[in-house]
């Protein structure tokens, strides 16, 4: 009889290599599993009731999976040891058995029901429609997020704050490499916040793992979801739907603060003019000098335009045209103002009229018309190289203007 003894005998004879391999793989798996349970490599437990629910469901599903696959793998090992042709195993002749078929249909169904019940419960909770305390409209742009606090009248863009130098290996990356923004989304803890998520161009996806929120931002749709953050802290995420070249470079940062701190923050936005509250087009009292415009223009360019048109103005043709000696940057002023204000539909060049103030737009156009040797070309052709905020405001009023 081919008993356990012969199996052991086989293992002893051939197993030196096998054992080493098994130990190695075992160690790897153990490592991997240990890693998985240290929260570092697992799904975060998160800081909202929904994220906790999802985490528990995930762990239940994970363990059910471990049980099923362990059963199959152990059975497999048993077969490989026990029924070897080389050990003279004689094939059995049962080829059909309704009983076992029923067993391995019914047991998985039971396991699935065990998973479906909590999944359904949590899903119902996710779709809870209790009245929110406040609403934030989230709009995806190529490649930044716009946040609009519908109840507070605050609206701003949130851009990647990691520098191009870090991305291009010119400087060592900071600790929050690719997960830092200039203006985080500030939210109060303990209150139900509704998100209305949409997009200005292609489909993006607003994902913050710690909040357990992932929702597609789709042009023409406003998707609703919500969160209720339990703990003060900073939570980071990234866009989760391929949205073009810089899909990997549009992070999300949520800063959860106490309700009192949130009130203070809101009040501050309303008094300090830091570009976070929308204002009617209005030229600053005193026009800026050329050198002020150029300095501001360079900063605005670096923050808003350089991802595509590059710091050296050469762009990444053909997707992103260069601005050095380009037909528009060294052409008539009208066309230049036009493309910066309104963008170009169907391309990544977006309308900056709603993202930048008139002074900033004037500054960046001035900068583009003068930098990289464009000044000489413009002067030679008799095109203006200096634009003031007042020109931009005038144009905006003309256009909006009835």
């Amino acid at each position: 009889m081919l008993g356990f003894a012969s199996a052991v005998c086989y293992l002893r004879r051939f197993s030196k290599r096998l054992c080493q391999l098994a130990i190695f793989i075992g160690a790897l798996c153990w490592q991997a599993l240990a890693q998985a349970f240290s929260s570092y490599w697992n799904m975060p437990r998160g800081v909202t009731p929904v994220s906790h629910g999802i985490y528990h469901l995930h762990m239940v599903a994970f363990w059910v999976g471990v049980v099923i696959s362990s059963f199959i793998f152990l059975w497999m090992i048993w077969i490989f040891v026990r029924y070897r042709h080389s050990k003279g195993a004689i094939p059995g002749n049962v080829h059909e058995h309704m009983g076992v078929e029923i067993v391995w249909t019914v047991i998985p169904i039971i396991l699935l029901v065990i998973l479906a019940i909590p999944a359904t419960k949590i899903l119902i909770k996710i779709h809870d429609d209790e009245k929110p305390a406040m609403s934030v409209k989230v709009t995806g742009y190529q490649w930044k997020w716009n946040y609009e606090y519908l109840d507070q009248g605050i609206r701003f863009f949130s851009n990647l704050a990691t520098s191009q130098a870090e991305i291009n290996n010119e400087r060592p990356p900071g600790p929050n490499y690719l997960l830092e923004v200039d203006h985080p989304l500030v939210l109060p803890v303990g209150e139900k916040i509704r998100f209305l998520i949409t997009s200005n161009d292609v489909i993006h996806d607003w994902w913050v793992p710690d909040l357990g929120v992932k929702q597609d931002a789709i042009p023409g749709y406003v998707n609703e979801t919500w969160t209720k953050i339990e703990k003060v802290g900073t939570y980071r995420g990234e866009c989760a739907e391929l949205c073009g070249t810089y899909h990997g470079f549009m992070p999300i940062v949520v800063k959860a603060v106490s309700p009192a701190a949130f009130k203070q923050w809101v009040a501050k936005q309303k008094t300090v003019s830091n570009g976070l509250t929308p204002t009617k087009p209005k030229a600053p009292a005193k026009p800026m000098t050329e050198s002020e415009l150029l300095t501001l223009g360079k900063t605005v360019y670096g923050k808003n335009c350089a991802v595509c048109h590059q710091t050296n103005g050469k762009g990444l043709p053909p997707t992103f045209p260069g601005l050095v000696a380009s037909p528009i940057a060294t052409g008539a002023l009208e066309g230049h103002i036009n493309i910066v204000l309104h963008g170009k539909k169907g391309t990544a060049m977006q309308a900056f009229s709603e993202q930048l103030s008139p002074s900033e737009i004037a500054a960046v156009i001035t900068y583009e018309r003068q930098a990289w040797g464009n000044a000489e070309l413009n002067k030679k052709a008799g095109h203006p190289v200096l634009v003031h905020a007042a020109d931009i405001v005038k144009k905006e009023i003309e256009e909006s203007g009835s």
């Binding site: 991997a32 599903a61 077969i79 699935l112 996806d205 749709y221 169907g346």
Partner: protein
């Protein structure tokens, strides 16, 4: 009309391959084409895995990264797994059912020859000014329509040609199986491989026209001012996703059901025991194929779908696990109390079982809508779907080792085959297992650069990918060596292999079963 090859005119050289209507020649061309494309698409994956070896810019720009992931996906699916499976169908279905050839040999020639042209068009965009298609293999609108690069129109044309090729091939296979079986081969005596391909062909016939319709709408949106998918024109970007996934989910079964068939031939052969639960196996595959049409929205759980449809698609997706489990358990039961030997085809079949189990388990996790909120669009999903897909690849490799002696009359090197297996199965897991953790920790897919905390496991994954790539060279070498100077293969190299194809000499003559066989020589008798 024809009698035992007498008087047949065989053109030589390139003409033989261009004009051939012989199912064996066409099968060979499909397989060789798939092998070439396997290295092309695999090379692309190495390019982006190397970029991902560490955060920050390594050596390719984000734009090129997106182009590479797009081509990698499209080629692996339409240029590798589908043609390889079609090659197996061409080579093996006629001898397995006792038919002299495919039912529609000229159509067969055309379905193959569309492929090299289709992929030449897709790959030619690499040499054009302007970006290659860069929107991922799912080519969601409006990224691929309003915002798509100029080359998108070439891409659309490629998809049309691939669709045509698949529809014609599927039609041919279905017609062959319906009409050309040996008299004694009733439906429930057909080998499971043939059954699997029959079901696959029916799926293909149902889904490829849907995809063709979808890309035609894209073409219209891009060039003729329609707005099917353009919200600003009253269209609907989500409509694209419905169309795409109505094709895309059953497509997963197009890739994996032929693999089920292969495994159902190989496991009994090396267990020296008849397939356990033949009837259940066939029914389970039919049920899987049917349910495959009812789950497409599980790819769209975060699009803002209402709870009712989320629940329906969650439950329907979970239900698919039941017939899939039935198949897995029946394969296990086939090996149980068998008499197993572990030649390379069997090793790959076992590799299939292991990899497929892991992919199935993570599939159930992804089916749960709340958890899917965290998984979708992350590396967890990348890890998940590469498991079933690589299980299909392993099944194809198993099939190649299994039938190669029959095809060319030579034996491959068993030692090299075993090395190939162990290197592949280990490197697949080193590559993709860590990606589960990367995704859970929060890394989105399709990004060329990532935050620092994902570095370690991305490095492990890249090393795995490089090893995986290199070990396929061993496969290539083994194949070439076999064809050039392998040992003579006996008629039935595997003593447990049953079925009509093993009653033929090795290599199979150019024309076989010109008279339908009387006996089936399977386990049936």
């Amino acid at each position: 009309m024809s009698h035992a090859g007498v008087g047949h005119h065989h053109p030589k050289g390139i003409k033989r391959w261009l004009y051939t209507t012989n199912h064996k020649d066409i099968g060979t061309m499909y397989l060789v084409f798939a092998l070439i494309m396997f290295f092309v698409a695999g090379g692309m994956s190495l390019i982006f895995r190397i970029e991902l070896f560490r955060p920050e810019h390594v050596f390719i720009q984000p734009q090129f990264y997106n182009e590479m992931i797009t081509m990698h996906g499209i080629i692996m699916i339409f240029g590798v797994v589908m043609p390889a499976a079609a090659g197996l169908a061409n080579w093996m279905i006629p001898p397995m059912i006792g038919a002299p050839d495919m039912a529609l040999p000229r159509l067969n020639n055309w379905s193959f020859w569309l492929l090299p042209f289709a992929f030449s068009i897709a790959l030619s965009t690499m040499f054009m000014s302007g970006p290659m298609p860069d929107f991922g293999w799912t080519f969601y609108a409006p990224l691929s329509t309003t915002f798509g690069p100029k080359s998108t129109d070439f891409f659309i044309f490629t998809i049309h040609m691939l669709g045509l090729s698949s529809i014609l091939a599927a039609l041919n296979i279905a017609v062959t199986i319906i009409n050309m079986r040996a008299p004694k081969m009733t439906w429930m005596k057909m080998p499971v491989f043939v059954w699997s391909w029959f079901i696959t062909a029916l799926i293909l016939l149902a889904i490829m026209p849907v995809l063709a319709g979808g890309v035609t709408m894209m073409l219209m949106d891009r060039n003729f001012h329609t707005a099917f998918f353009e919200a600003a024109g009253g269209g609907d970007p989500i409509l694209f996703q419905h169309i795409f996934w109505f094709f895309g989910h059953p497509e997963v079964y197009v890739l994996v059901v032929p693999a089920f068939g292969v495994i159902s031939e190989i496991i009994p052969a090396f267990s020296r025991k008849k397939l356990f639960g033949y009837h259940m196996m066939v029914y389970a595959t039919i049920i899987i194929a049917f349910l495959g049409f009812l789950v497409w929205m599980h790819h769209m759980f975060t699009t803002g779908a209402p709870i009712e449809s989320q629940l329906f698609f969650m439950y329907s997706t979970m239900v698919i696990a039941v017939p899939t489990g039935v198949k897995l358990f029946n394969w296990m039961a086939t090996m149980h109390k068998g008499s197993l030997s572990f030649e390379t085809p069997m090793l790959f079949a076992i590799g299939f079982l292991v990899i497929f189990t892991i992919g199935g388990v993570t599939g159930i996790m992804c089916a749960l809508v709340p958890s899917d909120y965290q998984y979708r669009g992350s590396y967890f999903v990348v890890a998940h779907f590469h498991y079933p897909l690589l299980s299909a690849v392993m099944a194809i490799m198993a099939a190649v080792y299994f039938w190669l002696p029959k095809w060319c009359g030579k034996m491959y090197s068993e030692a090299m085959g075993k090395w190939h297996f162990w290197l592949t199965v280990i490197s697949v897991n080193v590559t993709f297992f860590p990606q589960h953790f990367i995704g859970l920790a929060g890394m989105p897919r399709r990004v060329p650069d990532y935050p620092l905390q994902f570095t370690d496991l991305n490095q492990v994954s890249t090393i795995g990918a490089i090893v995986m790539g290199l070990s396929q060279l061993l496969f290539l070498y083994n194949l070439i060596r076999t064809v050039k100077r392998g040992k003579e293969a006996p008629q039935r190299p595997w003593d447990g292999a049953k079925g009509l194809e093993w009653t033929l000499p090795s290599p199979m003559p150019y024309h076989t079963f010109e008279e339908a066989p009387d006996e089936l020589h399977g386990y049936e008798d």
